[in-house]
Symmetry: C2
Subunit: 202 residues, 2 copies
């Protein structure tokens, strides 16, 4: 797939005639550090890659492209496109030969993690990867508490299946504390989740 | 990441005032069957998924979104976006606990596979995955010959490194025949590449 590569650097082209047009900005929600949880995970993965520790990437957001302009002497411009539903989780890769797969989610709640943050296709994908012997988990960020947990996919799936039976709409923090592993945030890497795998899951 | 999900089904909205606007169509290049090589790989991966044999997906094309409209009561419309360069290969996933990673390429040539089909970032990614003990390869489709090969990443990298020294601009078919494995095309799955891994690489 060879596309002309465009760059959006420095472009802020909101058309004042159009209402409801938003120029996308980065979130600044992660603790007091002006960073988002997603950016911290990406920085962590870049660290692991640079140090030859693991090769783990975030998958691009799936987008259905409908119409593309090809201006002369400049990069192709997508002029009509739509967000599509993903069929997998957001992150995967390889660590010491093992297949790694995870989803990252955050909440402002302080006592439980709402299951509405998850989608059926993500649960299905986690089940499929587990059945192929992948190492599958979620990273949960409680932004108000500033606490980060790794919870094995088995526990997420278990809560989800109970959720479907309407007995539970969220994962209690107490369950996450007992079944999961708290990750002490660092500087490099910021979210050292592979250390948890080394100690508890591999 | 929760986006409103849009659908592009049935939309053909090329603006006649705009020149050089193309509505994207599917390719019909793969043999005489009205299918593209990519579609056949996707069908193969769907087969493996449905049969619980492996979980392997194509990664979405990375796109930098600049501007989005949010019309009332309908899905978000991306109105300005650009193709970005990928940092990985196109396909990855898990098969019996092993990390699988590959790129798919096609040529009309009949005696060699041009190395200009590959990019430095793909070679770098293959090297990184190999160093993590991943199972890494390319699927090569010679459309004029209607022959498909699996070539281990080591051989691609070896040719690429020679290419950088200017002694070789393509991978000779004879080398692919001896170092790689020809895949007999089927119906379900159409491109049974996991059988090659079972027999030769795992």
């Amino acid at each position: 797939m060879n596309y002309p590569i465009g760059t959006a650097a420095g472009r802020f082209t909101g058309d004042p005639r159009k209402k409801n047009t938003r120029i996308l900005k980065k979130k600044t929600e992660f603790g007091n550090r002006g960073m988002s949880f997603e950016e911290d995970i990406n920085q962590t993965n870049q660290y692991y890659l640079a140090k030859s520790i693991a090769v783990i990437h975030k998958k691009p957001t799936p987008i259905q492209v409908v119409s593309v302009d090809y201006p002369k002497r400049s990069a192709a411009v997508i002029t009509e496109a739509y967000y599509k539903e993903a069929s997998t989780t957001d992150y995967n890769g390889v660590y010491q030969g093992r297949y790694i797969d995870f989803e990252a989610k955050e909440t402002k709640n302080t006592t439980s993690f709402p299951l509405r943050n998850f989608h059926q296709h993500q649960i299905d994908h986690m089940k499929q990867c587990l059945s192929q012997n992948g190492v599958v988990f979620v990273l949960l960020w409680f932004s108000s508490l500033k606490r980060c947990f790794l919870l094995p996919a088995e526990d997420v799936i278990d809560c989800w299946d109970k959720h479907l039976q309407n007995s539970r709409k969220s994962i209690p923090l107490t369950l996450i504390e007992s079944a999961g592993y708290e990750i002490s945030l660092g500087i490099a890497p910021r979210i050292p989740y592979l250390a948890v795998l080394d100690e508890h899951m591999l």
